[in-house]
Symmetry: C2
Subunit: 296 residues, 2 copies
């Protein structure tokens, strides 16, 4: 029995970061411009702190400027909005990311809409969401865009393929569906209210799992030979008291049926930060009206 090809997100994202680093170097040499990313963290959520540290490290590695703003958990909303207004105006800042989730006293949607769409490297501002849907020049949410890059790298042209997106979040499921429609896939969005989910998944040449439930999608739900992108990152306990990360797909089963699959960790995860850096570079280039290498 042949096992599925493992789609290596670590390798692919390292290559993407190398290409970004070259472009950043060229921008500095030829135009004296250094792309800058501002990350805002409110509070001390441990997972968020890890994400922000990793983003900072990767940003500096590709030669960009990293500005990290850490605010106390009880920061009033208007103080955060004032900070964002300043970052919107700051010419050294080309990308702005506010780490989610935010504390209760802050309306996340209001914060997202306060970011200049041209600097919205998360791609969550309605203007970017709208442009992604209607075909304009958008900044695209990082996780679905990273998933698309892996799909294109593995499958080439996606036109006419049946894709099923399981999950309808604003961060992954919905923008992923838009991207796959743009690629001319026949796209089905399934979710918790879907009847007979296994049957729906079984139709798919491409399965995107983005539900946040460990191992929910089973091997016998898959069409033999399909490509599986597992966006889930779930921490589960081991019998010995330690813990590990698993995806939304039962990997050990799926690997025997699928044609290709992303592992967790090491699949989509590393693509998200690489695409954040890519978005910062793209935002910087657009703000300065500079054309970038097409491969980005």
């Amino acid at each position: 029995m042949t096992e599925a090809t493992i789609i290596d997100g670590n390798r692919f994202s390292a290559g993407l970061r190398d290409r970004i680093a070259s472009e950043v170097h060229a921008l500095r040499e030829t135009r004296h411009i250094t792309p800058g990313l501002a990350v805002v963290l409110v509070g001390e959520d441990p997972a968020s702190q890890v994400y922000v540290r990793t983003k900072h490290k990767r940003t500096v590695e590709v030669g960009m400027e990293s500005f990290v703003h850490t605010l106390p958990v009880d920061t009033p909303e208007d103080e955060l909005l004032t900070l964002i207004a300043g970052l919107n105006k700051d010419p050294a800042v080309h990308g702005i990311l506010v780490q989610l989730p935010l504390p209760r006293q802050i309306d996340a949607q209001k914060v997202i809409e306060a970011i200049d769409p041209a600097k919205d490297v998360d791609g969550f501002h309605p203007v970017n969401v709208g442009r992604l849907a209607s075909g304009g020049e958008a900044l695209i949410p990082c996780t679905p865009f990273g998933s698309l890059l892996l799909l294109r790298d593995h499958l080439g042209d996606l036109s006419g393929l049946d894709a099923v997106v399981v999950g309808r979040s604003n961060i992954v499921g919905k923008p992923m569906a838009q991207l796959l429609i743009r690629e001319s896939c026949t796209v089905t969005v399934a979710h918790s209210r879907t009847r007979d989910l296994p049957d729906v998944v079984r139709r798919a040449d491409i399965v995107i799992a983005a539900v946040g439930k460990p191992g929910m999608i089973r091997g016998d739900w898959l069409k033999p030979g399909c490509t599986v992108i597992d966006v889930g990152i779930n921490r589960v306990a081991n019998p010995d008291g330690t813990s590990r990360l698993v995806g939304d797909v039962a990997f050990d089963e799926a690997v025997k049926v699928a044609g290709a699959i992303t592992p967790v960790p090491g699949g989509v995860g590393p693509m998200t930060i690489a695409c954040l850096l890519r978005n910062t570079l793209v935002a910087c280039a657009r703000q300065h009206r500079i054309a970038l290498d097409k491969s980005l």
Copy 2:
């Protein structure tokens, strides 16, 4: 053999326009506010002239103010943008619609993005497209919203139903898919690149036909008992030299298989203008921070 229920868009839209007229009357009596709709027509396309005349007539009928601006076909883009800037500022104008298509010298996307999103009663501005996708307070494109009202009226709760949207235009297909995802349908977007379209359509409890090809969707593509919303409005020639309007669905075949179907004309068509009036009323109420009757 029982035939499908005919979903009567004329009757439903007349009822909706009555409810709108009552709200308009109440707004004027209690608040001294009259909702106003500005329609801009560039050039003399005969079909567009008919649409604009009908919109004007319906607007006046429900007691709203109608402002029709007719510009010559060679109007420069900046002149149109100046007119829109004026309408954006005009407190008597709560809704702005620029009739499409526009002449070649004018960039339609630029015009759409120039309209204040709060007055964008077509729902085509990226901010409204984005809010529809991410769940914010949007103005929703009229034809898909009208289709949804007919579906809800006929089926009640749509949660868990399989819906197939054939066509991926920005005006109908994509916003229709977003609305059906919001209603918790399992939604498939199919289009010209879809493999085995009959088979995809055959899965659906709800079929939305929005491709602009007369009679393309055949009776034997339908699941018995399904609900068919035919958005197509195609003019075809009769053997005697006259012409008639037909939809994207082969009606005579479909009516023998479906559980319910919208006719063409008299189905979705009249809903579009009724929803335009509804959007103008909603826009006016939001601009004045007035709550409306929930049924609108």
